[in-house]
């Protein structure tokens, strides 16, 4: 311990942001005038200093090895004075000021098999969580579903355009690490079986009061019984009241929910975070359950593709998915997608009544 504490450096925070800037960013910080999208994945920013900055964005996987990171660093050294940037959606951006270099950079990226794209009115990378790669509460994998979906939507990344941008996100359980509740399309891992209760282990690894308090529907109560002459203190779940949020498992490892047949995918649609035109919106339930089908989750992929296609065919220019659905109405959206409308789509949680239709205004779809 003495060794570890000797000359210990703590609480230094991250490297200061400007130590990671190339000269062109230092010189033009706060001086940008406008930008253009030259093609999907290529932006041109023009500064009041007269500088033109070309950014080339490529697809990357959030799960990345240091071998891949070193490859990216080598490209930055060859073309970009040794600098690059990651975006909030796990893409990588290379920046050059010279059109000749831009051409060479694009050629190099393409030769190395990178996909250039992810800007403007298309589909960019899916933000996602850890899934089976690292998380202890997932209902689904994350990286694999993202790969399977983006393989089918890649043309919208590097080529085809849509009425507006479509942001897709994935969370592998209801904790939703990431803003999947405000995305054009979100893919969410759900459980459908109430927790198992390991009575013989529970008291050793869980606090009973906090476990009971963790349940939003008050479905958990104390359960004391005798087994082989031994008094056992544990909890009991009222399965009818369980909404499969998994919060009990977060508090208490002796209450696992995951199950191959119970778990799967729910799809959500029509959220956004931008304030452009309309205010930010939550995503709404599109499909309550699809089976968990590794390695390529064909049902999930098909439903996501269908949502994108119907939107591409019907929305007006600049309309985000949620704005378009608001205009045409949910009843028409279900008709257009052919997705089944079920009782699961009608809210029955905290603010359910605010989502019911208190009006005679609707469209007939039969």
């Amino acid at each position: 311990m003495a060794d570890v504490m000797k000359d210990r450096i703590t609480d230094i925070g991250p490297p200061k942001y400007d130590t990671m800037w190339p000269d062109v960013i230092k010189e033009n910080y706060g001086k940008w005038l406008y930008h253009e999208e030259l093609e999907p994945g290529v932006l041109k920013h023009v500064s009041e200093t007269g500088t033109n900055l070309f950014t080339v964005r490529i697809a990357a996987t959030r799960l990345m090895t240091t071998l891949h990171m070193r490859d990216l660093a080598a490209i930055a050294d060859e073309f970009c004075d040794g600098y690059l940037r990651f975006t909030t959606r796990n893409n990588v951006e290379f920046m050059v000021t010279d059109e000749g270099k831009l051409k060479a950079l694009k050629a190099k990226l393409k030769a190395d098999g990178h996909l250039i794209g992810g800007t403007g009115a298309g589909i960019t990378n899916i933000v996602h969580t850890q899934g089976w790669v690292h998380c202890h509460t997932p209902a689904i994998d994350a990286s694999g579903i993202v790969k399977a979906v983006m393989d089918e939507l890649a043309e919208y990344f590097h080529d085809k355009r849509l009425p507006a941008k479509v942001r897709i996100s994935l969370a592998c359980c209801l904790n939703m690490c990431g803003a999947v509740h405000c995305s054009d399309i979100s893919i969410l891992g759900v459980h459908r079986k109430p927790p198992l209760v390991e009575h013989d282990r529970l008291l050793n690894v869980c606090e009973i009061p906090t476990t009971i308090a963790a349940c939003p529907t008050a479905a958990i109560k104390p359960y004391n019984f005798e087994e082989e002459g031994k008094k056992v203190k544990s909890v009991q779940v009222n399965n009818e009241r369980c909404m499969f949020c998994g919060n009990c498992y977060t508090m208490c490892p002796a209450m696992p929910l995951a199950d191959p047949d119970g778990d799967g995918v729910a799809l959500w649609v029509g959220g956004k975070v931008s304030n452009a035109r309309s205010m930010p919106m939550f995503s709404k339930l599109a499909v309550p359950y699809l089976p968990n089908t590794p390695p390529r989750w064909p049902e999930t992929v098909e439903h996501v593709k269908k949502m994108v296609k119907v939107y591409a065919d019907n929305a007006r220019p600049f309309e985000r998915m949620g704005e378009w659905i608001q205009r045409i109405g949910w009843e028409q959206w279900f008709k257009l997608t052919g997705f089944e409308f079920t009782t699961h789509h009608i809210d029955d949680y905290r603010f359910a009544m605010t989502t019911w239709r208190n009006s005679t205004q609707f469209r007939f779809t039969e």
Binding site: Y17, Y29, L53, P216, P253, N275
Partner: protein
């Protein structure tokens, strides 16, 4: 080293145009000699076969003096995959807006190759660099190498989570605030809050330079700081004309889509009723050469966003409509202090009143916006709401009513027979 596990299911994810994480992991195993990558592929294949995860619940590990920044993780099938028996994550605070020198990326790679699995996330959802997979005994030496190289851990657990921001003024003409500097200032001021969890639950800052909100601050952050302006949109009529000539239907796609109908287009000229503009960014987004945000810029501060667990998802709500965020170094210091004073009042209240695992948004919902405003010593403003209450249940207070609430029952009954 050769691959040690057959992975027929994962092999399917090597096909197709999108970059493949399976290919990358195999490369780390084969070229990088990472036995952790090898066994991770094996365990992941098992999950793909069985349709369930194989990580144990929790595990408290960390570095001395910190209460977070490391997520403990253990395999529940270590006999099959010994190299992922321990598979702990380190969260490393990213440089604001995620620019990197290749030198820094190589330094990070060297450190992780030495102590861990060679596997990372660039980046985690909150914004950290994630080092994915190491043994408990590797944590201290890895931390020592990281801090020696100028990097530090980010937040986890019931603490301040690593603040993050958009690209800001570094490469965006719409940034109304210096997102990276605000992010850095908050991060440095609150190192203790980040590294030593002491709150009811997590707290997140996210900073976006304009209302397009590229870091999704309004959906994710307990405190969302979003750039805006309060003077007029700058218009370049010559460029408006060029957009029209290039085929943009200004009447339909600019005027027609303006949410407050504050734009008119006549004789090839645009005019904006700026008093009625709500700064949604649509017209500026579509015509960036012709329209620019105003120059009297600052931030709108919103409070309380979170994902659904427990009470349902919430978005942030306006609490300070405008806070100036630029000027001389001294002025900026004062403005940041004002922001931090507000935040610290919020934290004190939440610390006092918050229940275990209650986010600030849920606390405000439970105790009411009035209690929140009193705690942070701010006055109510119509900008805070979409509409006033429609229910009649007003919690009037005794001091608002003449004579207070104490009344004489005998006097009442003298006037009213029972």
């Amino acid at each position: 080293m050769p691959l040690t596990h057959k992975t027929p299911l994962l092999d399917e994810l090597e096909k197709g145009p999108w970059p493949s994480f399976v290919k990358d992991l195999k490369r780390a195993a084969i070229e990088g000699n990472s036995d952790t990558a090898n066994d991770l592929l094996g365990q992941l294949e098992l999950s793909y076969k069985q349709k369930v995860g194989h990580w144990k619940h929790g595990g408290i590990v960390g570095v001395f003096g910190y209460g977070g920044g490391v997520i403990g993780r253990y395999s529940d099938v270590p006999q099959m995959f010994p190299a992922v028996e321990h598979f702990h994550t380190m969260r490393i605070n990213q440089p604001a807006s995620k620019f990197y020198s290749s030198k820094a990326l190589r330094t990070l790679s060297d450190i992780w190759d030495k102590h861990g699995s060679k596997i990372t996330n660039m980046h985690g959802s909150t914004g950290d660099i994630i080092f994915l997979g190491c043994r408990t005994e590797a944590l201290e030496p890895c931390f020592a190498d990281l801090t020696a190289a100028g990097f530090d851990l980010g937040g986890s657990g019931s603490a301040l989570r690593t603040p993050s921001c958009c690209v800001g003024k570094a490469r965006c003409e719409w940034a109304c605030i210096d997102t990276q500097d605000i992010c850095y200032s908050l991060t440095m001021t609150y190192q203790d809050e980040m590294h030593r969890p002491a709150w009811p639950y997590k707290f997140k800052f996210k900073i976006s330079g304009c209302p397009n909100d590229c870091v999704a601050a309004i959906a994710r952050a307990d405190c969302s700081i979003i750039g805006t302006w309060r003077d007029d949109i700058r218009v370049n009529q010559a460029e408006v004309k060029k957009y029209a000539e290039a085929g943009l239907d200004i009447q339909q796609h600019i005027v027609g889509l303006c949410p407050t109908k504050c734009i008119t287009y006549e004789n090839g000229q645009i005019s904006i009723d700026n008093k009625n503009c709500t700064r949604c960014m649509h017209c500026i987004n579509v015509m960036p050469k012709a329209l620019r945000p105003g120059t009297d810029t600052g931030a709108t501060i919103l409070i309380g966003a979170k994902a659904p667990i427990l009470e349902g998802a919430q978005m942030s709500a306006v609490v300070i409509p405008f806070m100036k965020m630029d000027g001389s170094a001294e002025e900026i210091e004062d403005q940041y202090r004002e922001l931090k004073d507000f935040i610290e009042k919020l934290w004190d209240w939440w610390d006092e009143e918050g229940k275990n695992r209650e986010r600030t948004g849920e606390l405000i919902q439970r105790l009411g916006y009035r209690a929140f405003l009193e705690a942070v010593e701010l006055e109510p403003l119509p900008q805070m709401i979409k509409e006033p209450r429609s229910n009649p249940y007003i919690f009037f207070r005794e001091e608002e009513v003449p004579g207070g609430w104490e009344r004489n029952l005998e006097e009442y009954r003298a006037r009213h027979q029972a």
